[in-house]
Amino acid sequence: MKELSLNILDIVMNSVKAGAKIIAIRITEDNRTLAITIEDNGCGMTAEQLERLSDPFFTTRTTRQVGLGVPFFRLAAEQTGGGINITSVPISEDEVKHGTVVTALFYKDHIDYTPLGDIIATVITLIQGNADINFDFSHTINGYAINLSTAEMRSELGEDIPLNSFEVLEWIKEYLNEQYNGI
């Protein structure tokens, strides 16, 4: 992956496939580190699934026998001296508090650090494909926070207008661009 924002898109797709209704994406960075947390209320994973998660030859998909998303993300973090951590509660264990939390830490001054890239394109792609999921996005840079909550948007927009209408996606793009330019 050429950008961490592409890894984020890919990892969040796992939350989508897990049937999550709420997905939080939090990025926190200072001059030296960048931390990513992706938290969902999807179906979660059993201890056995969790254990095999970084094995590239383990996947739940049926079209082929490899699953590279998590190994790619882990590599991107570990090659900077950081790492990833995944905790999960399967729905079979807890019908209410199920879901998965993926956290990753990156050291930005390492030569093998992958830049974050176009995170706005990732947010827009996620909302375009999953208008019925509540996304809670935040990016804090040296204490300055950028936020986008689709639940908040929904309260202004009403129930009839899909979040992935072109006009709404354009608004998101302009809104986030303006927030980033304000830093």
């Binding site: 890919d10 792609t125 908040e152 202004e156 006009e167 303006e178």
Partner: protein, 123 residues
């Protein structure tokens, strides 16, 4: 400054349009967005399709959707176009530039761009 309050204005403006879109059953553009697709460049391809379909005024009859791994990862980014006559065209190794041409010539103009299809591409 952009504000959430602007969304209320979008709601007012779009009220009638949305009803029309719900009735739409036309062309479907499906972009593969699994790990293989994303790492090969599917994100800008998808977003270009969304922008071009709107720019060409085709949104009433055309939907752009995402799917998982289609199983031909070496050809990613892969885009499938389903037209109302149930024909499917599979475009492979897509880019934003190719996406613009597909919207203009195939989706709008009705002519399949054969050179981008899976049948005329080497892996």
């Amino acid at each position: 400054m952009k504000s959430l309050a602007e969304l209320a204005a979008i709601r007012e403006k779009m009220r009638d349009k949305v009803a029309m879109r719900d009735n739409a059953a036309g062309t479907r553009i499906v972009v593969g967005m699994a790990t293989c697709g994303i790492s090969a460049g599917a994100r800008p391809v998808l977003n270009t399709f969304v922008e071009e379909v709107n720019r060409e005024g085709l949104f009433e009859n055309v939907t752009v959707t995402q799917t998982g791994c289609i199983g031909i990862c070496q050809y990613e980014p892969v885009v499938e176009v389903y037209t109302s006559d149930n024909e499917k065209v599979t475009y492979v190794k897509m880019t934003s530039e190719k996406a613009k041409r597909v919207v203009a010539e195939h989706i709008k103009g009705g002519n399949v761009i054969t050179e981008y299809t899976i049948g005329s591409t080497k892996a």
